[in-house]
């Protein structure tokens, strides 16, 4: 699964992005490109701004400085309805699942379909049960989010994110709260979605196993210097990065045992 980045078309381009809450700068001068069909991993220590970066990419928080381009269109310079049109191509899985608590799982997954397709209610039911089956939740259609476990909410959130077969899937810590086997199945599912639907995947994750199995491109955010310190294929970074912090992260701190 070697993907040659130079042959590919850029899907998301981040240029000189600076993110801040008020005066508190989280990350500055981010520059990277996500190509069509990439599984792009955003990684870094806890609290370094991964979720915040994702909020900038999906249009929930405007940058303090810099641009986010989809294709060659600047998201934050576009008109509101243009932004909404772009957002319709995103499927987002939030860190907390973010299922609508007053709706059943079937209604949660079905809502985007009802909004943006002309499917009949019975077709929608079909699609919904297919998507729920894909994440291992067949038979839970009529459950409310509060009636299922945290890991199940995560998976239901994933089913909702892929309801509209979006061009770009954003996952915030998809495998957090899942057992190792489900996490593995999820990785397979993500790759399958990429291959079958041709979707681009942007995932925030700490799971080294997933990072190496699914990721073919990545950016590494550093909380100390408040900027990115590496970009590229995670496996290459692990083996060849010159930066000790990156190698340390990608080997669970084992790389600094001999060097220290």
């Amino acid at each position: 699964m070697v993907v040659n980045a130079t042959e590919q078309e850029a899907h998301i381009t981040v240029k000189n992005l600076t993110m801040a809450y008020g005066d508190f700068v989280i990350q500055r001068d981010l520059n990277f490109t996500v190509n069509h069909g990439d599984v792009f991993i955003i990684m870094g220590g806890s609290g370094c701004g991964k979720s915040t970066l994702m909020r900038h990419l999906i249009g929930l928080k405007s940058p303090t400085k810099g641009q986010v381009l989809y294709g060659d269109q600047d998201f934050w310079a576009a008109e509101l309805d243009e932004q909404q049109r772009m957002m319709r191509n995103f499927g987002v899985l939030y860190q907390s699942g973010a299922l609508w608590s007053s709706l059943t799982l079937a209604e949660n997954v079905g809502l985007p379909l009802g909004e943006y397709t002309d499917l009949s209610p019975s077709d929608i039911r079909e699609v919904v049960s297919l998507k729920l089956a894909l994440v291992g939740l067949a038979g839970f259609e009529e459950f409310y989010p509060s009636e299922i476990s945290g890991g199940m909410q995560k998976r239901a959130g994933l089913a909702r994110a892929m309801a509209l077969d979006p061009d770009i899937l954003f996952f915030d810590e998809p495998s957090a709260g899942l057992d190792p086997i489900s996490a593995r199945l999820l990785d397979d599912l993500i790759l399958e979605l990429r291959d079958s639907l041709g979707a681009t995947v942007v995932a925030v994750t700490h799971e080294l196993a997933s990072i190496f199995t699914i990721g073919n491109n990545s950016v590494f955010l550093d909380p100390e210097t408040r900027t990115m310190i590496a970009v590229g294929n995670p496996r290459t970074l692990r083996d060849e990065s010159k930066d000790a912090r990156v190698r340390r992260f990608l080997t669970r701190g084992e790389s600094d045992l001999p060097t220290a």
């Binding site: 987002v92 939030y94 985007p112």
Partner: protein, 377 residues
């Protein structure tokens, strides 16, 4: 039994201080502060090195660690070398762990003391910003309403029905109780005064006009603010915390149409009905006192009410109640959507929704009173 925490000092050489720690060092038992060490450092020749002796230490927990951390700070300030080898292994490792990730500075969370004038300035800026947000919210709600009138709004009809039930039928008991009592009290106060000069028949006018024109609307408005407005704020606030509103936005579904619109519609539909109902119940309350306390008969009271209460009063009351409904829905939804991302923020949002709604209801009513007086309704 372990003995209390004890501290003693020794100076085998001129430049070395040995700190002897013995007894039980637990948070629950209380541990000595670092001031005793301070006293040791002041007199005598300067100390270059500190060692620990913990042979008689019987038990320790976080209490010891806190003490040691304070010591480390003091020694670091004086550039005294610390030899930690005498400490229990576990304590040493935990201290190293605590020091491994340096404290994050410049998080913008520092305590900044501002003096009086800048504080006023900041408050003013905050007030302007929050007014702007409010105006913006009202504008967006109006646009959503426009979309609804053109039949283009996306919301779930089942949501609307559910909210109508919540803020209509389920509010009847409390509305009945309050308006009945208000009618009763009005009649009571009125009867006592009017009886003095034999004009007790006007109790019917007093209760009828006061209820239909002012009180039924205001009371239902305030009840709905406390009941429904707070509930709206809490619902939307919790949705903000759970990123549910973000999830709507990224789908391109407008939270205004999906969440605010059905709530506004439900109150616009239900408030006038509740208000009419409160009119009736209030008048019945007045009737019971009027007929019971004075010599007016049932028929007289009813006739007097029908003659005295013009349609203009009833219509004015009902029209105002529609506006009160909009105010309650908007303040509830606005505060809910502005809510921060924590449980306490949701509580604050609910409180502030009620306060905002009641303030606006009273102000609107006062303005209406002046305007209707001028144009003579």
């Amino acid at each position: 039994m372990a003995s209390r925490a004890q501290l003693s000092f020794d100076r085998p050489e001129n430049h070395t201080l040995v700190v002897r720690i013995s007894g039980s060092w637990r948070v629950a038992d209380g541990v000595p502060g670092p001031s005793e060490i301070q006293a040791q450092l002041e007199p005598g020749p300067p100390i270059g090195r500190v060692q620990f002796d913990t042979q008689n230490l019987q038990a320790w927990d976080t209490g010891l660690l806190i003490f040691l951390r304070k010591l480390q700070d003091q020694f670091a300030n004086r550039q005294i070398e610390v030899d930690a080898s005498g400490l229990p292994d576990g304590a040493r490792r935990l201290l190293n762990l605590a020091a491994a990730v340096p404290e994050k500075k410049d998080t913008g969370k520092g305590v900044t003391r501002t003096s009086f004038l800048p504080m006023i300035g900041e408050e003013v800026i905050r007030a302007v910003v929050s007014t702007a947000e409010m105006v913006r919210f009202v504008g967006e709600a109006t646009i959503a309403m426009g979309a609804f009138l053109r039949g283009k709004a996306s919301y779930r009809r089942s949501d609307l029905m559910l909210i109508i039930e919540e803020c209509g039928a389920q509010a009847l008991p409390i509305v009945s109780l309050i308006s009945f009592l208000v009618g009763l009290i009005l009649a009571f106060v009125g009867a006592v005064q009017l009886l003095q000069f034999g004009a007790q028949i006007y109790v019917a006018n007093l209760v009828g006009i006061a209820m239909t024109r002012e009180l039924a609307g205001i009371m239902t408005g305030i009840i709905m603010a406390g009941r429904t407005g707070a509930a709206f704020a809490a619902q939307l606030g919790t949705m903000t915390v759970n990123e549910e509103i973000d999830a709507l936005k990224t789908l391109g579904v407008s939270p205004m149409e999906f969440l605010v619109l059905p709530r506004m519609l439900a109150l616009i539909l239900m408030m006038p009905l509740l208000c009419l109902y409160a009119d009736l119940v209030g008048i019945i309350g007045g009737l019971i006192v009027g007929v019971g306390m004075t010599d007016i008969t049932f028929a007289q009271y009813v006739n007097q009410t029908i003659e005295g209460v013009g349609l203009n009063h009833i219509v004015l009351g009902v029209v105002k109640s529609v506006f009160f409904g909009v105010l309650v829905a908007l303040s509830g939804c606005l505060r809910g959507m502005q809510s921060g991302r924590s449980a306490s923020a949701v509580g604050v949002a609910a409180t502030s929704a009620v306060v905002t709604a009641i303030v606006f209801i009273i102000v609107t009513d006062a303005v209406c009173a002046v305007v209707t007086n001028i144009i003579g309704v």
